[in-house]
């Protein structure tokens, strides 16, 4: 069997060695994301509950937030999801070079998002005087968005690791599932951001 033929018959949506045909890694990632949903669910609930019961003296969120910047970084994060999807598609077709470029762009967009967040936190703390300790808004806001930022950071490290690994020559079309599970994680982090963006930022402007 030539490698050409092997490539042609590789089916990325069915793994014959498992009972369901779903690759183990994909199933693991889906189950983990279900769990992660609960993590973010609890954090978002905490934020919304305290939003409904603000103690006197709570800063007004609208005066602290900069919706333009956050909208921009949200857009960038969404675009990174597109690039991630392209990377997965590329590796499934065995196109390593295209995958590398897509991954690199994804990482770049992820870093822009993180940079925006660092800038935002810095502005909030030093100019808007919203810190993690001085009000309940600061506490829930920084914890929630910080946890999300941490997820993005882990994602960026993972993506970079995968990018570096692709140069060892060990990453082939057959390992598309590794990239795909990573992609699932990345898309999830993006989707969670949409929820956070709505519940934390947009809600203040209604």
């Amino acid at each position: 069997m030539s490698s050409q033929a092997a490539a042609a018959t590789l089916d990325h949506h069915h793994d014959p060695t498992t009972s369901t045909g779903i690759p183990n890694k994909k199933l693991l990632m889906w189950a983990f994301l279900a769990s992660d949903c609960m993590f973010f669910g609890c954090l978002i609930s905490t934020h919304l509950i305290y939003r409904l019961h603000p103690p006197p003296g709570t800063p007004i969120a609208r005066q602290v937030f900069s919706i333009e910047l956050t909208s921009f970084s949200t857009f960038i994060l969404l675009m990174s999801s597109l690039m991630m999807a392209l990377a997965v598609n590329a590796i499934q077709k065995g196109n390593l070079k295209s995958m590398r470029w897509s991954l690199l762009t994804t990482i770049f967009f992820g870093c822009i998002f993180l940079g925006c967040q660092v800038f935002e936190f810095n502005t909030f703390v030093h100019e808007k005087h919203l810190t993690i300790t001085n009000s309940i808004l600061g506490t829930t806001f920084f914890t929630l968005t910080g946890t999300h930022g941490l997820h993005v950071l882990i994602g960026v490290i993972w993506l970079s690791g995968m990018l570096l690994y692709s140069f060892t020559g060990n990453l082939t079309q057959k390992d598309a599932i590794d990239v795909e599970s990573m992609g699932l994680y990345w898309h999830f982090v993006d989707i969670v951001w949409i929820v956070i963006f709505t519940a934390v930022y947009l809600l203040e402007y209604i």
């Binding site: 199933l27 693991l28 983990f32 609890c42 506490t139």
Partner: protein
């Protein structure tokens, strides 16, 4: 398609040797083999051994508690020591005994029941165990430190757990320990979910899964969906304690009630995490010893799943006294009553299983029947709590203590003890003495009831929980004294049980294969099971598959011979390599956690600025963990192939040649 996958394996066998850091341990015996093991059976035994050790620790804590309460105004323990005892007794019994004993069976038995050669992610499985062990160490480290053990209750209600009211590191250790146990449980549960869904043998449809495996699946889902709630709650209290945030800081608008909601959104499913595996074990033992199939299998499975589902909607029945208002209270009261229905259904089905059977009264069966009786009583007092106005009197009293010990000892622990007796011959190839097994059952049964039945009356008499002393004029003296006597009887019973078990491990008579004439797949294996589990991947034809195989022996033998030949030509049995990285990652976590929860914050006069011993230890631990995880992913999930002789022994010298 399948042929393609196999060719790839063979092609890889010629690959160059990996660099030194990716060295893979191959020890088959000795300490190193246990530290680096990825075999689900060995990991199961590690869980089991740790759990039994902590059973002794938690049991001693319980005896100290009972000695203190034996007579009014006792001074055996100080109030501070008593608070440590009851906090650690509960935390130990829940997280370090019942859960890991369940995990021991999930690990050892579940893959065998579905005809798998291992769990889906063997190294992740090892990592779960080591993380669990690290969590257990962090929880208990306080006994040896001036800070003392955690003493704010296993429920850790804020603001008592905030730095203002618990200034020592004891609560930091409790928070960190539980965090790690959460990570361990979630990682293990994810693994079990993938294993059960994806690694079933051909023909093992979901509705043919043994009930124990079904309950493993439901429990695993409960774990991955409920533990995040406590993890977030713990993150919040940790932020409050370490960084001065305001989640539960009342003076800045924090609401302590939020902790209770988050805690019980985890805490109630946790109750089912503790009892569903027990129900699964009972659903295996009763049919075996009644020698007939489980009555109403689909209903038992469905009721288990619906208990799991409803379990997420009843958390506030732990909070009836928090003044939730009438509507919320009514809703949660009704939900709680509703969850009694699927629970009752299970009892009906177990009785239906006994009905018309041939009941063989062996030790596992005794414990199983004891379970049904005791769990019924615990269930009934549970219904009493569902009646919210009555619960206002019972909440926080010894009535509750009686209730949940009936559910957790009479329920979970009895079932787990039954399970140990039941699977002991399979795990070790030896049998526990029937005489001492039954003696231990009767002593445990009597001791348990003498301890906990009077507690119902103490509760109705108005004795509150978590009190280190009481006055002699409250009418509680006799009840408490009887409880203490019972606790010692219970302790003696458990000692007999454990000693008989340890004796049997070394000196017990050899057991034949399938000594109980059982029904499920794990009993088709020789005992103890070989490292590769199944000589040939079995094909499943019926629900009680081993029973079916026994009825259709010729047909099955022919089928297996064919499959064996096919499998051998495909390259033999694929075995995963052992790995050093799970335990190294665990070590990193241990060091990091000590940094976070045990080391004092730096004295600013000695260490100005950011750096100090606390930060340094934490970062060193984190770095070790990070490096271990990176190397872990680089070494890959590779393995070696073994070929078998017809008698099941491994061909050749057993060297683990990289493929």
């Amino acid at each position: 398609m399948e042929a393609l996958a196999k060719t790839d394996f063979i092609a890889k066998e010629e690959q160059a040797a990996k660099p030194f850091v990716l060295w893979r341990p191959t020890a088959q015996t000795g300490l190193m083999s246990w530290l680096t093991t990825v075999d689900h059976k060995r990991i199961g035994l590690l869980y089991g051994a740790s759990a039994l050790f902590f059973l002794v620790v938690g049991g001693l804590e319980a005896l100290f508690i009972r000695i203190q309460l034996a007579v009014p105004n006792n001074t055996f323990l100080s109030s501070a020591q008593y608070n440590e005892m009851f906090t650690m007794h509960a935390t130990t019994m829940i997280f370090l005994v019942v859960m890991p004993l369940g995990a021991a069976f999930f690990n050892f038995i579940m893959p065998l029941q579905i005809g798998a050669r291992d769990v889906a992610f063997p190294r992740l499985n090892a990592f779960s165990f080591w993380t669990f062990l690290v969590g257990a160490i962090i929880l208990n480290i306080g006994w040896f430190r001036p800070d003392g053990a955690p003493d704010a209750g296993w429920f850790g209600y804020t603001p008592l757990t905030t730095r203002t009211y618990s200034p020592t590191h004891a609560v930091d250790m409790w928070v960190m320990g539980l965090q790690l146990l959460g990570v361990a449980s979630i990682a293990a549960a994810l693994n079990f979910i993938v294993t059960i869904i994806n690694l079933r043998a051909p023909g093992m449809a979901m509705m043919r899964l043994p009930v124990f495996t079904w309950m493993t699946l439901v429990t695993s889902f409960l774990i991955i969906l409920s533990f995040p709630a406590i993890t977030i709650a713990l993150v919040e209290i940790m932020m409050d304690r370490l960084f001065g945030t305001n989640f539960f800081e009342v003076s800045n608008g924090g609401m302590p009630i939020l902790w209770q909601h988050l805690f019980w959104i985890f805490g109630h499913p946790e109750v089912y995490i503790l009892i569903l595996p027990a129900m699964g074990i009972i659903s295996e033992i009763l049919p075996t010893f009644a020698r007939k199939p489980l009555f109403g299998y689909p209903i038992v499975v469905f009721s288990g799943a619906s208990i799991g589902f409803l379990g997420f909607g009843v958390w506030s029945h732990h909070m009836f006294t928090t003044g939730m208002g009438t509507v919320a209270t009514a809703a949660f009261a009704l939900m709680t009553m509703a969850i009694a229905v699927p629970t009752g259904v299970k009892i009906f089905n177990w009785i239906g299983t006994l009905w018309g059977g041939h009941l063989t009264m062996r030790t596992p069966m005794m414990f199983a029947l004891g379970f049904v009786w005791m769990f019924m009583i615990g269930g009934f007092s549970g219904i009493m709590h569902a009646a919210a106005p009555a619960d206002l009197q019972q909440h926080g009293s010894y009535f509750i203590v009686a209730h949940f010990h009936y559910v957790l000892i009479g329920g979970s622990l009895f079932a787990l003890l039954a399970g140990i007796q039941y699977w002991f011959p399979l795990m070790f190839g030896r049998r526990v003495s029937e005489f001492w097994g039954k003696t231990s059952f009767w002593v445990i049964f009597v001791g348990f009831n003498v301890t906990f039945f009077p507690m119902h009356f103490l509760g109705l008499e108005g004795m509150p929980r978590r009190t280190f002393t009481y006055d002699g004029n409250m009418g509680w003296n006799l009840g408490n004294f009887i409880c203490t006597v019972g606790a010692f009887i219970l302790g003696i019973g458990l000692a007999i049980y454990l000693i008989a078990m340890v004796y049997a491990y070394y000196k017990g008579p050899r057991s034949l294969k399938d000594p109980w004439d059982a029904r499920t797949l794990e009993w088709s294996l020789p005992n103890p099971p070989p490292v590769y589990n199944f000589q040939v991947t079995p094909t499943i034809h019926a629900r009680d598959s081993w029973w079916y195989e026994k009825q259709h022996a010729d047909e099955i033998a022919k089928e297996e011979a064919e499959h064996a030949k096919a499998e051998d030509t495909h390259g033999g049995i694929h075995m995963p390599f052992q790995s050093i990285y799970p335990i190294l990652a665990g070590l990193g976590i241990l060091i990091g956690s000590i940094g976070v929860s045990v080391v004092d914050p730096a004295d600013p006069t000695k260490y100005p600025g950011f750096w100090g011993p606390k930060i340094a230890v934490t970062i060193i631990g984190g770095a070790i963990m990070f490096v271990a995880v990176v190397l872990w992913s680089l070494e890959g999930n590779e393995g070696y192939h073994i070929h078998l002789n017809p008698d099941g022994s491994i061909k050749g010298d057993g060297a683990q040649k990289h493929y």
